[in-house]
Subunit: 379 residues, 4 copies
């Protein structure tokens, strides 16, 4: 089936394999009139670039994005925006055992079962490079959201057992260390942990936390198209994610109602607004993580994604090949001992795409606002 598109009215369709001719995305449904240039997108792509630290693969990718359509005189036209990154390195090389052997923790086996064969070069479509299209599309969604007063940001919350301390959390710090952790001390400890793992030919998992600020209340739909349900899908669609939680998340399962409920109170000032009126009602706490009944409640939306450890490790592992023989494999080449730092921007991108789509979809929920929009008469 057609499984490479995401979104309903603001939609992306990604394409491309790791070692094919290129990677790209078509962004369809972006409103007309948004100022946009390649630098807006390149900034996001550079954040997922490897070779930025010793914990990310050394190969210099230098992915450069090109806008092929949908922008005219510096602004989006409302028609599809095609973005493309040509792969620099497509030299045919010896893929050796990878061609035939199913790497544990990878999608080699499931691809073969689904499609009968696979593009084995660098993981093909299941490579981390697949996320280039998401990040490029997400950059546009983020810019659209910003123009509407909504901001999305994410960071590394934990690396293996090393977590950011709530007391030391400092968002300024995030971009200063190579692990995207908003806590200098935790970052140092995490680096030491990762060096130890690398020496042991092993890898680590971690958690990314993401915040969406400025979302007006009432975005998301009450039943299946809940805002949090769509965020969960968005996040689990990222390779290597094994869990999603919002607000108090799994901790809520062992809490009491009296602890977990957020009391409502009033803000001093009524915020300014357009047709979508902004309320003075706010919550004293945010265990809900910014949604109630699947709709944004006006508080920041806060969710977390659990990433498994990098599957490619240099230790020998037991496996099977596509001819039905048992084999041993030790994955060669340089691999990140953790994918979380490079995944932070991917989580941001998926959150922005989801938030932008649902914000636009929320415009049709009330007849009075629609009548004001169209200047329609009364019944």
């Amino acid at each position: 089936m057609a499984g490479s598109s995401y979104g309903t009215i603001f939609r992306i369709n990604t394409w491309g394999e790791s070692h094919g001719k290129g990677i790209g995305v078509v962004v369809d449904g972006c409103p007309a009139g948004l100022p946009l240039n390649e630098e807006d997108i390149q900034r996001y792509l550079d954040r997922r670039k490897p070779g930025q630290s010793k914990f990310t693969t050394a190969r210099r990718e230098g992915d450069e994005v090109e806008i092929l359509s949908g922008v005219f005189e510096g602004k989006t036209t409302g028609t599809p925006i095609a973005l493309e990154v040509r792969n620099k390195d497509q030299r045919s090389k010896d893929y050796g055992d990878i061609m035939d052997i199913y790497r544990p923790g990878h999608a080699d086996y499931t691809f073969d079962q689904k499609y009968g064969f696979r593009d084995y070069r660098g993981g093909g479509r299941s490579s981390g490079r697949e996320t280039i299209g998401r990040v490029a599309g997400g950059a546009i969604a983020a810019k659209l959201l910003k123009s509407l007063g909504v901001r999305v940001y994410a960071y590394t919350l934990s690396v293996g057992p090393i977590a950011v301390s709530p007391d030391r959390m400092d968002m300024e710090e995030r971009d200063k260390n190579r692990l995207y952790m908003p806590d200098a001390q935790a970052a140092l400890e995490a680096e030491a942990y990762l060096e130890k793992l690398m020496a042991e030919k092993d890898s680590s998992g971690g958690v990314v936390e993401c915040v969406i600020e400025g979302m007006p209340a009432g975005v998301g739909e009450p039943v299946f198209e809940k805002l949090d349900a769509n965020l969960a899908k968005a996040v689990l669609s990222i390779g290597a994610v094994k869990g999603f939680e919002i607000g108090s998340g799994f901790r809520a399962a062992s809490m009491r109602g009296s602890e977990n409920n957020d009391a409502f109170c009033l803000e001093e000032e009524t915020p300014d607004g357009g047709l979508a009126f902004h309320s003075r009602t706010v919550k004293k706490t945010n265990h809900s993580g910014g949604t109630l009944g699947g709709m944004s409640d006006g508080s920041p939306i806060v969710f977390r994604a659990a990433f498994k450890p990098t599957a490619s490790i240099a230790r020998p592992q037991q496996t099977v090949d596509r001819f039905g023989k048992e084999r041993e494999i030790a994955v060669k080449g340089r691999h990140d001992p953790i994918i979380v730092p490079r995944a932070v921007v991917v989580v941001e991108a998926m959150a922005a795409l989801t938030a932008a789509d649902m914000l636009l979809l929320s415009m049709t929920s009330r007849l009075d606002r629609i009548q004001a929009f169209f200047g329609g008469g009364m019944e």
Copy 2:
């Protein structure tokens, strides 16, 4: 937007409010020829019925389902199956403060923000009764899956801090206690815990675990339509769910690659199969939870849903009313101290709906199988 439908080719569209005339669902896209009667569906609905124990609300609902279309001579016809449960009790009564006050932890406020007003009777569309449509639709999906060799079941994994012990887990036990826990001892402890909470006018969260067995490998799509991503959305679309994890889940974030990777090995016997060939390749462990790269890997699919504590508690809570005044509320009436036992069948239903849709969608991934299906010639 139209947010009350779920699925692509096997799709449900639910409708109904807690105290309206009824609740229902249209199941569209069910293949023709499946034997189906009302008892098949009623069995599932009875599992979410309240009044089955002292931990579920005493009100006898006695929801009786009626099949209105799509079944002829005992079999599905391939056309939409309309299912309906008429609400027994629609007497107008005094809703008192509920009309105007925003209950903490409920969707009252967000509904008002989104739509300008709401059906306040019993929570309206945000009531737990909304799940009747899901469960009725899920019963059909489960029966379809069973006819294809796939089985879905769920159970209560924990109640507040009391968890099922892996050593004592016994699925036979599940239906013997009122909490749907597959561990008699944990169930006893959990009952004691809940009684204490009720005495304190408080409530508890908990975790549901769900298993899908018999799914052939290769179901799910590699990028956005990953099987696990769709399960995450399905589960988060259930009211009160705050988290989803598959396989090792959040624990994977603190694990090492060498621990978390599942080695592949060979089974003794090749399973029988249709056009979708079943492989001898199996995994030694199941940290993946049954998916690799978003596609089923042939192992059981195992995931968990974290439920927050029941929001309705009898303790006084601080809040705001729709006129912008601060108020205090103590939610009256009987309310379950935990929703997990009744939610088990809802998780099962959403899993079955997702699995059925994605299984059908997987039929078009390989040309050779499509050619065999249609008896088409060669190029």
Copy 3:
């Protein structure tokens, strides 16, 4: 597949068979705040009712619609609106040959090929009664459109070879004759023609014309989601429709550019408007039928649907049964000699559903209007 829903954000999902328990529709995505009661819908249903003249079947159906959800205190709540018509007459009776024989011009054969069997009672899902759900949903779409200044109406343009004369066209006349023709003289001639056909145990086709007035310019999307493309699908989805044309239609194929192009000019006055500004630019003629490049151009949208003759005729016809034997059939019972008069409201309904969905979808095409809607900040 799930083929019984129509629309993207304003969507209907119909269900029901001719002789099952009932027929219905779920309307999902209707904005909150639209005044709505059963009479609004019944008025539309009564227009497709048989037994209104000697040219429509005598059986009194008396379809009464019930609103089961989505309306509270006289207004839509934004949640799904379930509408239901219970079938009055479900007595089991002798269906005789119809069970086994494929009626020429009907879907009996294709249903059996697709599904392996079919509900043969009264045509099952392929009966004209299937349109009840469309008309009920269309009544709501039409009311929504009216509240936004858009009006949809249709009429019989021709009955067999007898066409309405443009010189005599008078919309007041439409509801005065039993054929819904806006031309008293043509109606008389058409009645005589139909009486002759009935005497000859034969039937007639005809054309319905439909007009959408008040649509602001710019509704519809430039490529696949053209307004006219969606209208074409909507109209061809009605049973017995064999053709669709907009504006000059098939006549355009033999015209010259200099004849068919519509010149632009200026209106005297700028119309009032909301955020969606209304322009002074108008067309001198309307060969385009109200769309240019798939988007509404501000002129009335005018299209036509060609209906084939009623397939059920009392004359003997050659056919085959489901056991693979050649047979002869003369369809018994009373059947309309033409379906066009009762189809007029079905065309209106499908047009209203399409127009409402695309009007709502058009709200997200321009960033400046979205910013005004949300009161968003500037970049």
Copy 4:
């Protein structure tokens, strides 16, 4: 909204403007294992190329397609196939009045109304070059269909008042004349007619007819997703199309039931088949055009598209500019006096895309066939 994608499980997403950097399409959902190379696609693109006769624009485009993803070792992998044609000529030039003036019969005005501004270079997204993506995607759909025994072809049926004669129709002739007419004599007359129009600075409309052969019975869905309804949308989504009809089409409206109904009879031989059994039941005539009740009936599917005359004509026309002033325009440059010959392959492409998607979707209609596919057990 996202309006540049078409299809449900076999889906294309097109992008690109006439004078932007390029034009392209992402084909998502093509089954794995289809042999495919650039020549397969180029052959289709060459058929829509201008400069092939004096009736198509002289400018040599030389569009060369590049496959960027989704094909490995000569076969489709099941992942998205990105196809791209770089625009050769993007020199900035003087667009003169076109920038500001609304050309009659074009989408200039509606684009400005919808989006606030437009890429005016060569018509931007509303240019005929937009169809490159459709044709490239359609080439793949056609190859997929061919591998399943289904064939799609189209031809020019009429040019202005000059129509192909049924008696002289000879498909061999189609590719021998520059108008794609399967009738040498009609082609000569049509050429003379067009030369006269060109001398008069005018243009002509015409009709394209398309045939789909080999479709098994039962493809298409009974209600909204009728095969003919989707073909109608597909065809009306092509710029300049003003009408669609299938089988007897508009002529059916003036026919009698006894003329229009197709009698069923039996074929001598039972055709071979896969799981989708092929029946011996056939029709004596094909007024239905190959569908009954929205599902294929086993006969060839035959439909027609009416194209309006080329809107760009050199004669002076009255219009308005975007500043709200009345103006006169005579469209400069060379323009085809008729677009029909180049549109033939576009109709074929849209038909192939629709047929491929609906054929794949039809695989899930019967449980017995699904059980055979998966080798599933019985209930």
